[in-house]
C-alpha cells in the first residue's frame, strides 16, 4: 500500500485547472473547456489510484497528512480519508467530468443570455468555477480538522453562488439569494458550534482525532449538536429546511444543479456522520428520534410535492428531498446496515440524480422550457434520450438490479431492526417514488407527440458520453456492490462504536434454534 499518495495533491490538481481556466482570454472558450475536461479527468484518475491503494481492512484514516496552519489555536491543514470520505470523493470526481461534458455548449449562445436579460456570460469562468468547486468539494470530504472542514464548507458556497447567480435561469438572483441566506444562517450557527466544541473538548486543537471522545456529555453537547444540526439539515436538506433547494435546483444551470444536489447537499449528511455522531455521541443518541421523524416526514412530504410540480427541475429537487429523508433515517438508525446503506445511498443518489438532471437538461436544451406540459411523446422523436431518461428515472425509484435499490433497501432493513414503525412508514415511500418518476416519464416522454418536440434531435456523441458512464455505474454497482460496500463497512462500524451503539441481535444465520 502506498500511503505516500497525497490528498493535498488531489486538492491541488483541480485548483491548477481552475486557475488556468480563469486566466485564459475570454475569447478562447474551447480551450477552457478542454482544460476543464483534462483536469477533471486527471483528478478522476488520481482518485481511482488512491481508491485502489486504499486498504479497506486497514487504518480508519488513510493517506493522512497534517500541517500546522494557525498554530496558536491548534488549527491544522489536516487531511485523510476513511471509507465514507473516499467513496464520496470518488462520486464527486466522477460527476465533475460528466458535468463538464454536459455543460459544453450551454453558455455559447448569446440568444439565451438575451432571453434571460443577462449579459453574455463568460464561458471560461463557468468552467473555472466548476473546477474551483471541485477543489472545495474534495477538501470538505478529506478534511480531518474541524476548522478546516468549516472553511471548506463555507468556501463551497462562493463558486456555487456565482454559478447560480450568473449562469442560472430567469429567477436566478432570487434563488441565489435564498441559497445564500439559508447557507449563511446554517454556517454561522455551525461556527458557533465549532468554537463550542473546541472549548468544551479542551484539547487546544481542532483535529478530529484530538476531539474524538473528548467532548463532555451534557447540555453543552446538545447545544453544540444543534448548531451542527442546523447547518447540516439546511445543507442536506431535511424537512422542513428544504425550501431553498427547489428554487436553487430549478434556477441553477443543469451542471450546477447536478453538483449542488449531487455533491454539495451530501456534505450535510456527511457532516452528520463524520462530526455529529462520533464527536457528539450522547446528543446524537438523544436527538436521533427527532431527526428520524423529520426524515420520514420528508420522505413522504417531498414525494407528494414532487408529484405536484409542473417544473421538471423543481420536481427532481423535491425527489432529492425525499431521498435525503432516507439518508437521514439511515444515519440516525444506528445500525451497520442502515449506516452503510445511507453512505451507499449518498453515492448512488449523486449518480442517479446527476443522470436525471442531465437528461432533463438535454430536454431543456432542446425545448427551452422547464415546464412538463411543453413536452410529450418525446421518446418517439428521441429514443436514445428517452431510454437514458427512463433508466435514470428507474434508478431514482430504486429498481432492484440498480445500485440505488441496494442502498435504499439497506437503509430500510437496518432501520427496521430497531424502529419498525418508522421503517414501515418509510417503505410506503417506494410506491410514491414509482408514482412521481413514472408520472414525469409519461408526461414528457410517452403519449401523443407534442408538436413542440417534433423537431428535436436525439442525443449526440458528447451527450451520450456524459450520461452513459453514470448509468453504467449505477447498473454495475447494482449487480456487484461489494467493492464499495467493503470500503464503507469498517468506517460505519467505527462510527457506530463512537456513538456507542451496536446492531440489535438477530438470530445467527443458520441457527434458527430457540
Amino acid at each position: 500500500m502506498s500511503q505516500n499518495l497525497s490528498l493535498v495533491g488531489l486538492i491541488a490538481l483541480p485548483l491548477v485547472g481552475s486557475a488556468v481556466c480563469f486566466g485564459l482570454p475570454k475569447t478562447n472558450a474551447l480551450l477552457a473547456k478542454q482544460v476543464a475536461l483534462f483536469f477533471s479527468v486527471a483528478t478522476l484518475i488520481y482518485t481511482i489510484v488512491i481508491g485502489v491503494a486504499f486498504d479497506a481492512g486497514g487504518d480508519r484514516f488513510q493517506f493522512e497528512a497534517s500541517y500546522d496552519w494557525i498554530k496558536a489555536f491548534g488549527v491544522h491543514f489536516a487531511v485523510g480519508v476513511d471509507g465514507i470520505a473516499l467513496v464520496l470523493v470518488a462520486m464527486s470526481v466522477v460527476l465533475v467530468p460528466a458535468v463538464v461534458l454536459a455543460s459544453w455548449n450551454s453558455f455559447d449562445s448569446a440568444d439565451d443570455a438575451e432571453e434571460l436579460d443577462a449579459p453574455q456570460r463568460s464561458v471560461k469562468n463557468f468552467f473555472g468555477l466548476v473546477l474551483l468547486l471541485e477543489v472545495f468539494m474534495i477538501g470538505v470530504f478529506v478534511a480531518t480538522d474541524v476548522f478546516l472542514f468549516y472553511v471548506f464548507f463555507e468556501a463551497m458556497l462562493i463558486p456555487m453562488y456565482f454559478i447560480i447567480g450568473s449562469y442560472g435561469g430567469p429567477r436566478r438572483q432570487y434563488a441565489a439569494m435564498k441559497f445564500f441566506l439559508y447557507s449563511l444562517v446554517g454556517g454561522l450557527l455551525m461556527l458557533a458550534s465549532v468554537i463550542g466544541i473546541y472549548i468544551t473538548a479542551g484539547q487546544s486543537s481542532f483535529a478530529f482525532s484530538d476531539l474524538l471522545g473528548n467532548v463532555p456529555d451534557g447540555a453543552s453537547q446538545k447545544w453544540i449538536f444543534l448548531g451542527f444540526f442546523a447547518a447540516f439539515a439546511i445543507k442536506a436538506p431535511l424537512f422542513p429546511f428544504h425550501t431553498w433547494l427547489p428554487d436553487a435546483g430549478a434556477e441553477a444551470p443543469v451542471g450546477g444543479a447536478i453538483l449542488l444536489v449531487g455533491v454539495l447537499d451530501k456534505v450535510g449528511t456527511f457532516g452528520f456522520l463524520r462530526y455529529c455522531l462520533p464527536l457528539l455521541p450522547e446528543a446524537s443518541r438523544d436527538l436521533a428520534p427527532l431527526v428520524m421523524i423529520l426524515s420520514v416526514i420528508g420522505v413522504l412530504y417531498a414525494a407528494f410535492l414532487a408529484m405536484g410540480q409542473r417544473d421538471m427541475k423543481r420536481l427532481i429537487a423535491y425527489t432529492s428531498v425525499a431521498h435525503f429523508g432516507f439518508i437521514g433515517l439511515g444515519i440516525f438508525a444506528f445500525t451497520t446496515q442502515a449506516g452503510t446503506g445511507a453512505v451507499f445511498y449518498m453515492v448512488n443518489h449523486g449518480l442517479s440524480t446527476g443522470a436525471l438532471f442531465m437528461c432533463v437538461g438535454f430536454l431543456i436544451a432542446r425545448g427551452k422550457s422547464r415546464q412538463i406540459s411543453d413536452y410529450g411523446g418525446t421518446a418517439k422523436v428521441t429514443p436514445v434520450l428517452g431510454g437514458a431518461f427512463l433508466l435514470a428515472g428507474l434508478s431514482s425509484l430504486a429498481l432492484p438490479g440498480m445500485s440505488t435499490f441496494i442502498s435504499e433497501f439497506l437503509v430500510l432493513l437496518g432501520t427496521f431492526t430497531r424502529h419498525k414503525a418508522l421503517a414501515v412508514i418509510a417503505t410506503t415511500g417506494i410506491v410514491l417514488a414509482a408514482m412521481y418518476v413514472l408520472l414525469l416519464y409519461q408526461r414528457t416522454m410517452q403519449g401523443t407527440v407534442n408538436e413542440k418536440v417534433a423537431h428535436f434531435r436525439d442525443l449526440n456523441a458528447r451527450e451520450i458520453t456524459a450520461v452513459a458512464p453514470l448509468l453504467a455505474l449505477i447498473i454495475f454497482l447494482g449487480v456487484y456492490p461489494k467493492p464499495v460496500i467493503d470500503i464503507i463497512n469498517p468506517a460505519i462500524k467505527a462510527t457506530m462504536q463512537d456513538v456507542g451503539k451496536s446492531d440489535p441481535a438477530v438470530p445467527s444465520s443458520f441457527g434458527g434454534s430457540k
Binding site: 489555536f73 458556497l157 462562493i158 453562488y161 438572483q173 432570487y174 441565489a176 435564498k178 445564500f180 441566506l181 454561522l188 461556527l191 465549532v194 468554537i195 473546541y198 425550501t243 412530504y301 407528494f304 410535492l305 408529484m307 405536484g308 451497520t336 446496515q337 452503510t340 446503506g341 411523446g377 418517439k380 431510454g387 429498481l399 432492484p400 438490479g401 435499490f405 430500510l412 432493513l413 437496518g414 427496521f416 417503505t427 417506494i430 410506491v431 414509482a434 413514472l438 408520472l439 409519461q442 410517452q446 403519449g447 401523443t448 407527440v449 456492490p481 461489494k482 463497512n489 446492531d503 438477530v506 438470530p507 445467527s508 444465520s509 443458520f510 441457527g511 434458527g512 434454534s513 430457540k514
Partner: protein, 651 residues
C-alpha cells in the same frame, strides 16, 4: 410440515445444499444470456433491425434445450439430491446481513424454467410473424428477452432478495411491454398503473424480507426454512401475509387486481406470455416456494384461500360482461389464478394441484391469447367481439386451436383443465367443515360461470353471423403464428393427463413443496363431485348457447341492462373505488401540500428573502454584490471565533 422437507433444507443450511455439478453449474447462463441479448438488441440500434428478431427468438429456444438437459440431470437424482445450489458471488455483505448471489435448482424451479423457456420460445416465434409490420420489432424482442432473464432469475434465485430483483425485473419488462406503443396514451397509463399496483405489493414483499432478517437472521430460502421451526406463529403469520400482499400485486389478485385487464393494451403476445402464462403466476410460485412459512400459519393460509375465492368469483363475473375478447381472457386469467391461490392456500393437500393448474393454464390460456392475437391480426386489430362472428369459416386453424383451449379451460374430460381444476375443487371440499363447503361451492360455481363466459366468447367470435365491416378481409395467419398455436393446443389437450398420470407431478415436486398429504376423508366422493362439476359446466354452456347462439348478437352493447351487468361491465366498481378512495384524495393532498409548501413553509423565508432581496438590488447597483457582504460576514465570524478563543486562552 413434512419431515423430509425440513430435513433436506436444514441439513442444506448446516452443511450446504448439494452443489450443482456438471451442466448444472452453467445455470447462470439462463439469466446472463437473455440479459445480454436484450442489451445487444437495445444498444445496437437500427443496425440490428434486420436480424434482431432472429437473435431474440433464438435465445429462448437455446435456453429451452439447456433447461431440458438440466431437467434430465436433476431427474436422474433422487430425493434430496434433486435440490442443488449454485453459489455465484457475494452480493451484499454488511455484517449480520450477508446476501450471496446463488441459484437454487430444484424440481419447482426447473418446472418453471421449462414453462418459461418452452412457452416463451413459442411466443417469441409467434411474435416474428405478429410484429412483422411493426417498426419497433427489434425493441419488442429486446424487452421480451429482458423479461425472460428477469423471470428466470425470479424462479432460480436461492433467496428472497434475489427473487425480489427478478420480481421487479419482470415488473419492468411488463411495464415496457404494456407501454410498447407508448405514444398511445391509454397504453402509457395502463403500464403505469400496472407498475404502481405492483409496487404496492412490493411494499409487502420488502417488509416480509425485513421481518425474515430480524427474526430468522437470513433471507436465503435454506436459512429461512431452517429457522421456521423456531419462529413464533405470530412472526410466521406476519411474514406470510406480507408475502401474500406481494403475490396479490404480481398475480392480479384481489384487492390489487385492477391493473391486469388494463394491461391488455400491450401487444397480444405479451398478454399471452407475461399476463397469462408466466409472470402473473409468480405469486403462486412465491406461495408454493414459501410452503414452510405458510404451513406454519393457519391464519395466513385462511387469508390466501379467501383471496383466491373472492378473486375466482370477481374474475368470472366481470368476464361475463366484456365485449373485448382480450379482456374476457384477462378476467378469466384473474379468475383462474384465483383457483391456483385457493389451491396453494390449502397447504400440503393441494400445493402440487396449484402448480398443476398453473402449468395447464400456461398452455391453454397462452394458446387462446395467441388465438385472439391471430384474430386481431386478421381483423385489422379489431378486438370487439360484437364485430366478429363466423370466423371459424375463414380461420380454421385459429378456430380449432382456440376450441381446444376452450375445452381445456371449461374442464371437459379428457382435456387438461379437467384434471387440474377438478383436483382443486375436490381439495377445497375436502378441507372439511363449513369453510370447506363454502370454498368448494365457490370453486364449483366458478367453473359453471367460466363455462358460461367462455362459451359466450367462443360463440361471439367464431359462430353466428358475420358482423364485421365490408372492407374487412379476414384470413388465416402465417405459419410462424399458427405453429405455436398448434403446439400449445397439443399441450391444452394432453398436459393434464400426462402430469397426473401416476401422480407424476406430485411426486416430482415433493423435494420442493413437501410430500402431498391426501385428505383423510372425502366430503363428497370423487365420482359424484366429477359428475356434479360436469353438470354445472354443462349448465354454463347451455345458458350461453341459449343467450348468444340462438339469438343474433347485437353489434353494439345493449343498454338498459340489469344492475349486475352494468356493475360487471365496470369491473364491479373496483376502478371507481380506487379513484374515489385513493386517487382523488391523493390529488387533493398533493395540491394542498404544494400550496402549503409555497405559502407556509416557504413564506416565512420568502419574507426574509424579499427584504434582503430589495437590499441586494441596491447593493448590486453599487457594484458591491454579495461577495463583499459574504466576505464581511465570514470575517465577522472569524473575529468572533478569534475573540472566543482568546477569551478561553486567557481565562
Amino acid at each position: 410440515m413434512s419431515a423430509t422437507f425440513t430435513a433436506a433444507l436444514s441439513s442444506a443450511a448446516e452443511e450446504g445444499l448439494a452443489s450443482a455439478e456438471g451442466i448444472q453449474s452453467a445455470a447462470w447462463l439462463l439469466v446472463a444470456v437473455p440479459a445480454l441479448s436484450a442489451a445487444i438488441l437495445l444498444l445496437a440500434g437500427k443496425r440490428a433491425d434486420k436480424w434482431g428478431h432472429y437473435l431474440g427468438a433464438a435465445v429462448p429456444i437455446g435456453l429451452f434445450v439447456y433447461v431440458l438437459a438440466l431437467f434430465f440431470s436433476i431427474k436422474g437424482e433422487h430425493g434430496e439430491e434433486r435440490v442443488r445450489d449454485l453459489h455465484l458471488f457475494s452480493w451484499i455483505p454488511v455484517y449480520d446481513f450477508n446476501v450471496d448471489v446463488g441459484l437454487l435448482l430444484d424440481p419447482l424451479s426447473i418446472t418453471f424454467c421449462l414453462l418459461i423457456t418452452g412457452v416463451g420460445s413459442l411466443i417469441h416465434i409467434y411474435s416474428i410473424g405478429y410484429m412483422e409490420h411493426d417498426p419497433g420489432r427489434r425493441r419488442f424482442f429486446a424487452y421480451l428477452n429482458l423479461f425472460i432473464a428477469a423471470m428466470l432469475l425470479l424462479v432460480l434465485g436461492n433467496g428472497y432478495l434475489l427473487l425480489y430483483v427478478g420480481w421487479e425485473g419482470v415488473g419492468l419488462a411488463s411495464y415496457l411491454l404494456i407501454a410498447f406503443w407508448y405514444y398511445k396514451p391509454a397504453a402509457a397509463t395502463a403500464a403505469k398503473k400496472a407498475f404502481i399496483a405492483n409496487r404496492v405489493g412490493d411494499v409487502g414483499l420488502s417488509l416480509a424480507i425485513m421481518l425474515m432478517f430480524l427474526y430468522l437472521g437470513t433471507t436465503s430460502y435454506a436459512g429461512v426454512f431452517a429457522g421456521v421451526g423456531g419462529a413464533s406463529t405470530g412472526v410466521l403469520t406476519a411474514i406470510a401475509l406480507m408475502l401474500l400482499l406481494g403475490a396479490c400485486g404480481k398475480s392480479g389478485q384481489f384487492p390489487l387486481q385492477t391493473w391486469l385487464p388494463d394491461a391488455m393494451e400491450g401487444p397480444t403476445p405479451v398478454s399471452a406470455l407475461i399476463h397469462a402464462a408466466t409472470m402473473v403466476t409468480a405469486g403462486v410460485y412465491l406461495i408454493a416456494r414459501s410452503a414452510p412459512i405458510f404451513d406454519g400459519s393457519e391464519a395466513a393460509q385462511t387469508v390466501v384461500v379467501i383471496v383466491g375465492a373472492i378473486t375466482i368469483l370477481y374474475g368470472c363475473i366481470c368476464g361475463c360482461a366484456q365485449d373485448d375478447l382480450k379482456k374476457v381472457l384477462a378476467y378469466s386469467t384473474v379468475s383462474q389464478i384465483g383457483y391456483m391461490f385457493l389451491a396453494v392456500g390449502l397447504g400440503p393437500a393441494a400445493y402440487a394441484f396449484g402448480i398443476l393448474h398453473l402449468l395447464t393454464h400456461g398452455f391453454f390460456k397462452a394458446g387462446m391469447f395467441l388465438g385472439a392475437g391471430s384474430v386481431m391480426h386478421a381483423m385489422n386489430d379489431t378486438i370487439d367481439m360484437r364485430r366478429f362472428g363466423m370466423l371459424r369459416k375463414v380461420m380454421p386453424i385459429t378456430f380449432v386451436t382456440f376450441l381446444l383451449g376452450y375445452l381445456a379451460i371449461i374442464g371437459l374430460p379428457p382435456f387438461s383443465g379437467f384434471f387440474s381444476k377438478d383436483k382443486i375443487i375436490e381439495a377445497a371440499f375436502n378441507k372439511g367443515g363449513i369453510s370447506g363447503w363454502i370454498l368448494g361451492l365457490v370453486a364449483l360455481v366458478g367453473a359453471g360461470i367460466t363455462a358460461f363466459y367462455m362459451t359466450r366468447a367462443l360463440v361471439m367470435t367464431f359462430f353466428g353471423d358475420k358482423r364485421w365491416a365490408k372492407d374487412m378481409h379476414p384470413h388465416e395467419s402465417p405459419f410462424t403464428m399458427t405453429v405455436p398455436m398448434i403446439i400449445l393446443a397439443f399441450g391444452s389437450v394432453f398436459a393434464g393427463f400426462l402430469l397426473v398420470r401416476g401422480e407424476a407431478l406430485v411426486k416430482w415436486l415433493e423435494p420442493s413443496v413437501g410430500p402431498h398429504i391426501e385428505a383423510e376423508h372425502h366430503t363428497i366422493s370423487v365420482a359424484v363431485l366429477t359428475a356434479l362439476t360436469l353438470i354445472v359446466v354443462a349448465g354454463g354452456i347451455g345458458g350461453a348457447v341459449l343467450a348468444f347462439a340462438q339469438r343474433p348478437v347485437p353489434s353494439s352493447a345493449p343498454v338498459g341492462v340489469s344492475v349486475i351487468t352494468t356493475a360487471a361491465r365496470k369491473n364491479l366498481y373496483a376502478d371507481a373505488f380506487n379513484e374515489t378512495v385513493l386517487m382523488r384524495p391523493g390529488q387533493w393532498l398533493t395540491r394542498a401540500l404544494v400550496f402549503i409548501d409555497n405559502k407556509g413553509v416557504d413564506g416565512v423565508v420568502n419574507g426574509l428573502g424579499a427584504s434582503f432581496g430589495g437590499g441586494s438590488r441596491r447593493l448590486r447597483q453599487l457594484q458591491t454584490g454579495f461577495v463583499r457582504s459574504y466576505a464581511l460576514s465570514m470575517l465577522a465570524g472569524a473575529v468572533i471565533l478569534l475573540a472566543a478563543l482568546l477569551a478561553v486562552r486567557f481565562q
